[in-house]
Symmetry: C2
Subunit: 272 residues, 2 copies
């Protein structure tokens, strides 16, 4: 059985690594420090697949990843979601009372703000949850802790001081699996597209009409700056169905005649 | 002439402070470290106004500020925009070649990524652009620089090593002015609302219908996680016109009968 190469965002112990292991049973994992590196590895064929976070159920979308989906010639092959549960992680022997500094990704710190504000600590933003855990281990910081996953604590041989410190248990992150192709019809599919709209009143309404009249359910709409012109936007639309389903095919055909820009990012089985 | 109290996000020398000084000619400025503090100060009457960034023309929306607009009982009194131009700032006497670390807010680092990747430096995220400048001054770091505004360099007596290091000159940040009331009709107004939609196909389409049939132009639509349920959203809609204009009044009235949740954030003169 040959291993498939999968680039993912973050270090060993990151939530993206966990997502990669959930999606691929037999993968050679390539960690990437930047979102962009994952896209580049997929576009250039360095790895067949890429795994990146696209959205958290509390914090919202990862804007940079949306912009990269527009920029790179990659497609969406799949999606999956992971329940995010954060731990307060420190060197073995370090007690809660001796922690003065807490390092983590700003989003993870924000997600644990209720617990963290009950401590008398300074919060320090760091690249990622897992790199914060590793840094504390490497520098042997006895007055510091990191917010990260149980898995990161295990990998780096660190101690979990407190678990499940997130404010809201409705904390899931949705990940996309990138490839040079999208996925075949599965019968429980979702399609993602990017649309640029003409600058006239009602243009978004008339674009959405193509889905509404066919009873196609939108699961998400996200606007991002066009970057070419100030305060103009492109729209990322996710809808139920495969792009080869008859009604979706028709909707996309009609829509493409109404708008100046459309890019189909791909169809893939919905995460369950 | 009595001074008006204005809370703003960030330290002295932040872009929000600059925006506050542009909007109010005679203000007693209160710096706030967190977005939430600005909202609290306005809601509790600690200050009459608050100034916070809502959106950058390249990086997109500030998600946390959108969530706070939903959470707090404040209204939007005004908006303004500022051209963002970043400088590489270091202690006097420090040359470009001796810089090993660059500190700034992650968004500012991202906005200068082309220039910064041409240097052999490590990028370190920090709370804000201005606090990064101040920290380098206070700790007298000779191997570090910050990305920040010309104004921040001046305030802290620091040296501008390189100016205009941003990748894209289309770099503007839009700021909101918060108060306990919104603004009177000016004739060139904008209105912001938040809408929760019923969970049926076509609900966004039918909500936008109320604007489209009246020829009301939407200037922005932004989705944010509802937080109550995973992968459900509320929509922030900005449209042209004042909420007391007849057609806007009618659109809002019809819309409120279609949706389970609506909050009018206010009407205010459009930024020019």
């Amino acid at each position: 059985m040959t291993e498939v190469k999968v680039s993912y965002y973050g270090d060993e112990g990151s939530y993206s690594e966990e997502a990669s292991l959930m999606f691929f049973s037999n993968a050679l994992l390539i960690p990437c420090r930047r979102f962009k590196d994952v896209f580049e590895n997929v576009e250039r064929g360095v790895s067949e697949f890429g795994v990146i976070p696209i959205e958290n159920s509390l914090e919202g979308s990862v804007g940079e990843v949306y912009d990269l989906l527009r920029e790179f010639n990659v497609m969406i092959y799949g999606e999956l979601q992971l329940r995010i549960s954060h731990c307060l992680i420190a060197l073995p022997g370090v007690s809660l009372g001796s922690i003065r500094y807490v390092y983590s990704h700003p989003q993870a710190l924000a997600q644990c703000s209720r617990f963290l504000s009950s401590l008398d600590v300074e919060l320090i933003p760091y690249y990622s949850t897992s790199s914060a855990v590793r840094m504390i281990k490497e520098k042997q910081l006895c007055d510091s802790a990191a917010v990260g996953s149980l898995r990161a604590a295990e990998i780096y041989g660190m101690n979990v001081v407190v678990r499940e410190i997130e404010d809201n248990p409705n904390n899931f992150t949705r990940f996309l699996v990138l490839a040079l192709r999208d996925c075949e019809v599965s019968g429980r599919d979702k399609t993602s597209i990017i649309v640029g709209l003409p600058h006239i009143p009602g243009s978004l309404y008339r674009a959405l009409e193509e889905f509404a009249i066919r009873g196609i359910n939108l699961t998400k709409i996200e606007s991002r700056p066009s970057k070419e012109k100030v305060w103009e936007y492109v729209f990322f639309i996710d809808f139920e169905g495969h792009r080869l389903d008859v009604n979706c095919l028709e909707a996309l055909k009609s829509l493409s005649m109404k708008v100046p820009y459309i890019k189909v990012l791909g169809s893939y089985p919905r995460a369950v």
